[in-house]
Symmetry: C2
């Protein structure tokens, strides 16, 4: 089952996506819903980010080749985290599928994408064991964790390098019933596949993140957990189009624009 | 003018506080409101956190004596930030005035309070100059930035040391019309004043934070900016009561409990 969130006639709604059709619901996937008889062709709805999270959690350094790439890039030894590496992020940067990523005027050439699987939490959860961890997940969506690498070296908490406006494209859908340990991810820059990897290569899986977070935090319905990317990442330039496709979810597509 | 947010008969409402009376409004201070004829004695309402922020921004190392204390505590040279030092925090930890701060069972003795002035943003804001920065502020409330110092040394982004459940008491009211550069703050542990300082001692003021954030982020109505604390902080133990009083706002009072 695939969920979308969209704007129609000035109101924000959730819908169920089947093929090219979107069935509008009353309510939402977190607190309960009822299907309505209103159906749209997908071209007729303006997709929004599939959820506005109370907290956006982001994991980092979570795939082996990316850990090695990041170390080579920084000229330091690789950091192999002893536990899931995570932090909370601001929510201002969220933009939907087909939204435009704005490259800030003072950004350097090191303005890069990161294709990531994103877990969407469906209910309150605290103290979940690793075995039960996935029971609180509603489904999965796709994130592009846009990063300005030169800023990342000095920012406290990456507040600028990763949280600037438009730096968090997320969508298009939340897909339920997926196995997060075995999903193929493809990242394409201007229709050219730059990397393909499987989420089974994560150093710490979605269940590990949830076990760790819920030891101290109550996860809330709508919270999202971004799980990191694999491999080397490349620079994006105004005019580029970035597509991240994940098996069973769909494709998150965003173009790059510039600030005046 | 003082705003509160409260629960009554199962609904969440905003109210205007005058002396011992709370006047219920329709709407909210961010999107518009109308006073109703419903008034409560303050004892009759259950206060909630005065706002649930889209993003909780936190400044750190922002008062001179605290910078020196933190350095001595860590055995390192003082860090004098060249720009406002900030990051986004999770929202799970928010609790209201009179809520109970829970000391986790694996926390060490270094479980401490931090009394802070908190700016509450009233409207969308981007690219504000320092001179115009305060124009987006609705008012000010009080925060207790509870910190587990031993965890703080290793946590990425302080996700555990500062974001664990109940670690963000905030309230009781949002007061409008204050000058954030000249407010006395008193922090009391079990009715014993441990420190008194003026917000004029901030290294970076509220206007500096807003200028810096809005250069890259769109601030959203309801966002909050915590501005750091002064001096040495002390350990709290189960049974303790922490009060933070700020001139013109009121007193945020929370007791400390323990996890089983």
């Amino acid at each position: 089952m695939k969920w979308c969130r969209f704007e129609t006639n000035g109101a924000v709604r959730f819908g169920i996506v089947e093929g090219d059709l979107v069935t509008q619901v009353e309510g939402d996937p977190f607190n309960g819903y009822q299907e309505t008889s209103t159906k749209f062709h997908h071209d007729q709805v303006h997709l929004l980010v599939p959820v506005v999270p109370p907290t956006l959690y982001a994991g980092g350094l979570n795939y082996p080749d990316h850990v090695i790439w990041a170390a080579e890039h920084a000229g330091t030894p690789p950091i192999w985290p002893k536990e899931p590496r995570l932090g909370a992020r601001a929510t201002n940067g969220l933009i939907p599928h087909e939204g435009v990523i704005i490259k800030p005027k003072d950004a350097t050439d090191e303005f890069q994408y990161e294709g990531e699987l994103v877990a969407v939490i469906g209910k309150y959860a605290r103290n979940l064991s690793r075995e039960d961890a996935l029971s609180c997940v509603l489904g999965y969506t796709i994130g592009n964790d846009v990063s300005e690498r030169s800023w990342q070296r000095d920012d406290t908490n990456n507040w600028r390098a990763k949280d600037t406006d438009t730096f968090h494209p997320m969508g298009p859908f939340i897909a339920t019933g997926l196995d997060p340990t075995n999903l193929d991810v493809s990242v394409r820059l201007n229709n050219d596949e730059k990397i393909r990897f499987n989420t089974g290569k994560m150093i710490w899986g979605v269940a590990d993140f949830i076990e760790q977070i819920t030891r101290y935090h109550t996860l809330q319905p709508g919270d999202v957990i971004w799980t990191g990317t694999e491999g080397a990442t490349l620079n994006m330039h105004p005019g580029d189009v970035i597509e991240i496709e994940i098996e069973g979810i769909g494709t998150l597509r965003n173009s790059v624009g510039s600030e005046e």
